[in-house]
Symmetry: D2
Subunit: 284 residues, 4 copies
Amino acid sequence: MKNTSVLLISCPDRKGLVASVSDFVFKHNGNILHTDEHTDTELGRFLMRVEWDNDGFDLAPQDFAPAFTSIAERFEMQWRVAQRNDRPRMAVFVSKYDHCLADLLYRQQSGELACYIPLIISNHSDCQKLAEFYRIPYVVIPVSKENKHHAEAEQLRLLREHKIDIIVLARYMQVLSTEFIREYPSRIINIHHSFLPAFVGARPYHQAFERGVKLIGATSHYVTEVLDDGPIIEQDVARISHRDALDDLLQKGRDLEKVVLSRGVRWHLENRVLLYGNKTVVFV
Amino acid sequence: MKNTSVLLISCPDRKGLVASVSDFVFKHNGNILHTDEHTDTELGRFLMRVEWDNDGFDLAPQDFAPAFTSIAERFEMQWRVAQRNDRPRMAVFVSKYDHCLADLLYRQQSGELACYIPLIISNHSDCQKLAEFYRIPYVVIPVSKENKHHAEAEQLRLLREHKIDIIVLARYMQVLSTEFIREYPSRIINIHHSFLPAFVGARPYHQAFERGVKLIGATSHYVTEVLDDGPIIEQDVARISHRDALDDLLQKGRDLEKVVLSRGVRWHLENRVLLYGNKTVVFV
Amino acid sequence: MKNTSVLLISCPDRKGLVASVSDFVFKHNGNILHTDEHTDTELGRFLMRVEWDNDGFDLAPQDFAPAFTSIAERFEMQWRVAQRNDRPRMAVFVSKYDHCLADLLYRQQSGELACYIPLIISNHSDCQKLAEFYRIPYVVIPVSKENKHHAEAEQLRLLREHKIDIIVLARYMQVLSTEFIREYPSRIINIHHSFLPAFVGARPYHQAFERGVKLIGATSHYVTEVLDDGPIIEQDVARISHRDALDDLLQKGRDLEKVVLSRGVRWHLENRVLLYGNKTVVFV
Amino acid sequence: MKNTSVLLISCPDRKGLVASVSDFVFKHNGNILHTDEHTDTELGRFLMRVEWDNDGFDLAPQDFAPAFTSIAERFEMQWRVAQRNDRPRMAVFVSKYDHCLADLLYRQQSGELACYIPLIISNHSDCQKLAEFYRIPYVVIPVSKENKHHAEAEQLRLLREHKIDIIVLARYMQVLSTEFIREYPSRIINIHHSFLPAFVGARPYHQAFERGVKLIGATSHYVTEVLDDGPIIEQDVARISHRDALDDLLQKGRDLEKVVLSRGVRWHLENRVLLYGNKTVVFV
């Protein structure tokens, strides 16, 4: 993998944006590999992702911000820059179903997900063995109505201790409190096992079976304070028929969930996802 | 196309059903080409479709019912038999958008849809030329809040006059009254331009755009008294991204609608759709 | 549709390309709506598409070339600029099957394909009526082994007379001569009814049926002197099973062909396709 | 999972087949859950799969054959009966890439694949750890041009020792000899990493990249003596674009391979695959 930098920008739309940014990279001797932009004409919002080869680029990471400030201020940019070689620290939350966790761990180990996974948190012990195979600390924190506040406090303590950057809910069957979510805004990714906004809430495959749909879906999205309503990162569907009993739906669903969650996580890790309003733009 | 018969059965599940039906066809010298069954174990309901070659079959269509009665009564069957060569009489309702109508007419003329289309009804004159090209009577009946009752009365009169068997709403933008729907139970097929049950009601593409979904869908379904809630026949989806403006969604949607509606109509015409509860079983 | 300009560039990869081009557009007061680039690192080739709003842009179309020359020469660019509002003149070649022709004509008339269609050429009279409905001249030029040379001469004469920019072979069942193809390099688009490079040549659905594949495909591509070997623009597939007889394959295939050909044609018309080597880059 | 029996039949097409078989099951008090048939009219071949609930069925497995013989002989049937609860013994062959192996082992352990896996054979030691996690014997047998004959003899000895019923080549990078294949006719399943018959042989992703296709594929098939030419069980594809470098193709391909191989293996294990000529019929 090349040593590259990624710059993400969100600002009011204005002439000269692409020129100013690409000129800045060029003047510092960077070779642009990709640029992507999106303009939301209704909101007058401009979003951009630029990736350049660090080879020859004359700004060290710590010198980027001071150099870029004048452009950023002129265009009122929200922005951040990341090194492709940076590896964020990701915690996985899981309950009993292990298919998404197993898939994430396999992909991380094989190099497909560029992150560290220093911590797995669960309200059950079922996935302990799997964590051991990959030599990742697995902490069981039971959650009940009564102890929820304390359980979340302990979870937050562990997340801070392990300097976690991003949390993935890999079929974690507990609803997080508003307070918890606010600690990691736009940094918690969930997999919902339906094609949102259809079948919000519990037991979506049962709902789908009941309604008689011909396709089932899965959705990976950022967690916000409203259940199953956060910005969608990725969705996919699979065809079903009357030959599929509820168990077959669950099985086909598991394959969907793995793929849809891992894509969402990978795009987040590669700094390809930009948020605006309650939507995402994914630059792939 | 072969000269075949299709028998559709719905009854309580019991042993000996497949044997009794296939034995009946065999004893009358019919060669079974396809059998399909589905058992809903929860409801204890058995559904079956049998198709046989009429070549050598020793019962004329009018003699089938008397011969089959004893089996039908023994198993408490709801059933009907159809000849593959029968061509139902189909009316198409349309408003201003012509893509679904154009698609249906092309497919009917090319032999893909085995039906007659003796009548097109619209609340606008926009699609008149298209109807003329295919030499099909096109009747404009404007609909407003005030005249709705009279308009539907006139529509029903025309449907009876033309001995219509099935009605297809090809992006017809008026909601039919309960009274109208009751005249053609399970015989009105609609195309809804979303992946139901997501985005029920008006302007689903706008709703989808607003929510930031990554796939858009279309659904063909039987019309019941509850809006967009009838038994689903077919659904499909297409991938979208931030590069798709609302206009692009509408365009991709049109391609989806054509395919999803024509499949639903074809399966109905070929006697492949069985209803139970609020679901369909499609034997393809 | 907005009044925009599209600039397409192909040149050796070098630093400063994005900056120079976007700076040029900015200095002439154009607001960039989209930029896309692709670098083939193996070949060291850089490809770019830039689209900007003409509103406020201070270069008239005829003044663009002189102004852009110095940049173009410095980077050794092959380039062309087009106005989104330009409508190329497209000829359609067809034989007996009319589904692709019908689809193209419908899409052109509905505004989805931004082109004129002043001429349809066929070796049969079957599609005459369809052409009349859309009021497009339809010229029948029978083709046989013996008269092929003369037939192509007449075709070329008509193409020149109608100032044709691009030719679409909509299931035209004759192989064009090398001489003919050289007259319209990279400007003839064909639909092949298989997933190339599988099933090159005649009767691909029969070949697919024989081989027992589980998906059938269609491919739109530029025509080169080697049969079915030109640069691929678009491909898609549909699932089949043993329940699909050869006739069902043909029917499913027709739906694929329409979609795959019309996408290929649309992307070409919107100046989204760049060629290099025997491949295409499609900026969508 | 229910305790059911599956009967698979292949014979010349004749009237009375469905009636005779379903009557046989009924007379022995079996409740038929599914029947599927396919008639190849060109070859005059009839294929059937019947599954019934063993609850109440009055023939023990060992008594089935004597009771069924007269029907089987009358219709010249090739047939076999299997118990859904039977679990075949499956060996997996693997080289260095572990994604398909990891996927199969996970699915077997989670209950999705109804088989035992008593043996993994590899020409490399790379996947040893994975086998240990699942506590499955892993035997390394290096293969070279010189020792190939001896290596295969050792492989065959192990397969016999472990009473192997079916072999899965999970990205095993050696070509098996004709002699080896003949020992397990129609019982070796391979995953080929292309949409066959496109890109036969080595390095299909490189071939696909070179040709500039817009979709990549994977194919699971039975191994025959002609390389990559055996009966296809399942295929699927994924969309790619110029944004996908060769590495991205490989990654997308891995996800395809896992899904396509595991589906093929599952259908084989569930006795859903019938062979005729060089094709399969998959009753799902």
